[in-house]
Amino acid sequence: MRNLFIIIAALVMAGFAPFNGARAQGDVVIDLAVDHVDITTGFNGAHLSLFGVQSEPGDIAITIKGPRRKMVVRQKKKILGVWMNRKGMEFESVPIYYDYALSKPETEIAPEDVRRANYLGADTLRFASKDEKKFDAPVVKGFQDALIRNKQAARLFPTEAQPITYIDDKFFRTTLYLPSNVPTGLYTIETHLLKNGKVQDVRTTELKVAQVGRSAAIYNFAHSWAFTYGFLCVCFAMGVGWLSNAIRRRLSS
């Protein structure tokens, strides 16, 4: 098992950004030491270590969101003694991966409306759906909760906030985990600086998660040359079959 450590230096410096004239309270500046996670054949999840510097007091909240996809949640019902999917609800744009870290307990860092507005916490995530009008509000909530539960079971959504630990007054760090089934794509990391429950500034940075090397070559080949790829798979299988027959014959004679 090999874990990939990515060090992200998030420099959160109040009053350091070049365009701070309009803001009285201070800005957030983020920089990434490594802006990509490479998925190779040996990939088995990665720890994402974030380091940051803060020059003014305040609370830090970090969110990371994966690429957005359309997702369908289905509910099973017993029909004629057999469990099968019945009702389904389609959600337009759900981040495939989401995690967050807070420097203070959830209830203390900001009031609920601020947390909801900035997606600080799995319970603040609400996803829009075209099917919303088809069902009653409690049913819709049931589907939304189920979506979060399913994602948590797949370890793609967190069950609680990751802690942000301070090394001293200014330096802080946190570790986020990307499991092995993490989807590829562009991830956004948002670092919020909060003071007395109010967001002072948000800085966004991006993280690229992609297959590299042989793994990426196979993926790209299979997707862009699907016919040739399929044909080669068949040839490979036939070749191995022929070879094993030849070896067996050689051994038995």
């Binding site: 054949t41 088995n44 094993s244 067996r248």
Partner: protein
């Protein structure tokens, strides 16, 4: 050792996949079965998405079937004309099967239909085999097969058009029979990710009326090409063929099969049939749990 599968986009334990495919390979060498009906559900249990399992398993069957077919070919036990007609049916069946697969996936019923088909097919075939074997054991009737009334189908056979002569099998029957049998095989291969030998072999004996000697080689000939077509179709339409997963499965299958073949003479055919029947029944019971037991989480989420 964890291996990241590039197409499935997930990490799996290589040892686990290898040992299971080696075990199934052992059984296939011992009983002369393909074993797709055991490997595909297992892959789905371990968390490989159904689409990837069904798309990749045929690739393993190609290797397995090829090895077996060559052995029969050398003895001249392959009826190419019969196999060719079956292949016409199975190609059409595969194309339709892939469309059904995509439709069911869209409707969210693919897992349900796969489980249901497996349970129905496996439980009926397992029970039939078990009953037949136990019957043979107690009444010492060596040839139960001749007891099956083949005359029932002869009436229908006489009406069907396109009569063709099959010299190898010494038959003069309608070409629609092998086409029809192949058609069913093709649908099964593309929806369930299996070769379908356990269904084709009895169909070829009882419905087509082929001599038993030609059945194994001809069904393998048909299976190799049907699963090849199925692999190609899954690759082109869904990109669900994972070559790394296939390679682990093939390696395990090939190695396991050698041990199975070596073990072949050491077990009585009747006992082997009973063990296989019980195994099939156990798998079907395990799968019927998906259908009849209330799931812990009644909601499921998929990316569309």
């Amino acid at each position: 050792m964890q291996v990241y599968l590039p197409i499935a986009e997930m990490a799996v334990s290589a040892e686990m996949i290898f040992s299971v495919s080696a075990f199934v390979g052992f059984l296939s060498g011992l009983f002369g079965i393909g074993g797709g009906f055991l490997t595909t559900p297992f892959l789905i249990f371990t968390g490989v998405p159904a689409a990837i399992a069904v798309g990749t398993q045929p690739c393993q069957i190609v290797a397995n079937g090829m090895s077996g077919m060559l052995g029969h070919l050398r003895k001249g036990h392959v009826d190419f004309k019969m196999g060719g007609f079956m292949l016409i049916g199975s190609t059409v069946g595969s194309l339709i099967g892939i469309s059904i697969f995509k439709l069911l996936q869209y409707l969210g019923q693919i897992d349900f239909v796969i489980s249901l088909l497996y349970v129905v097919l496996l439980s009926s075939i397992g029970t039939m085999m078990l009953v037949e074997s136990i019957f043979t054991m107690f009444f010492k009737k060596k040839n139960m097969r001749s007891e099956f009334n083949t005359n029932k189908v002869t009436g229908l056979k006489a009406i069907l058009p396109f009569k063709t002569r099959f010299n190898r099998s010494n038959l003069y029957i309608s070409a629609l029979l092998p086409v029809g049998v192949g058609f069913v095989g093709g649908i099964l291969a593309s929806i369930l990710g299996i070769g379908g030998g356990f269904l084709l072999v009895p169909a070829m004996i009882y419905i087509i009326g082929m001599p038993t000697l030609m059945v194994a080689g001809t069904s393998l000939f048909q299976i190799v090409f049907t699963t090849s077509i199925s692999t190609m179709l899954h690759s082109v339409t869904n990109q669900t063929v994972d070559i790394l997963l296939a390679a682990i499965l093939i390696a395990g299958g090939v190695i396991g099969a050698q041990f199975g073949v070596a073990f072949n003479g050491k077990i009585k055919p009747l006992h082997a049939r009973i063990i296989l029947a019980l195994l099939i029944i156990v798998v079907s019971l395990r799968l019927s749990g998906n259908l009849f037991i209330e799931p812990i989480e009644i909601f499921s989420t998929v990316v569309r």
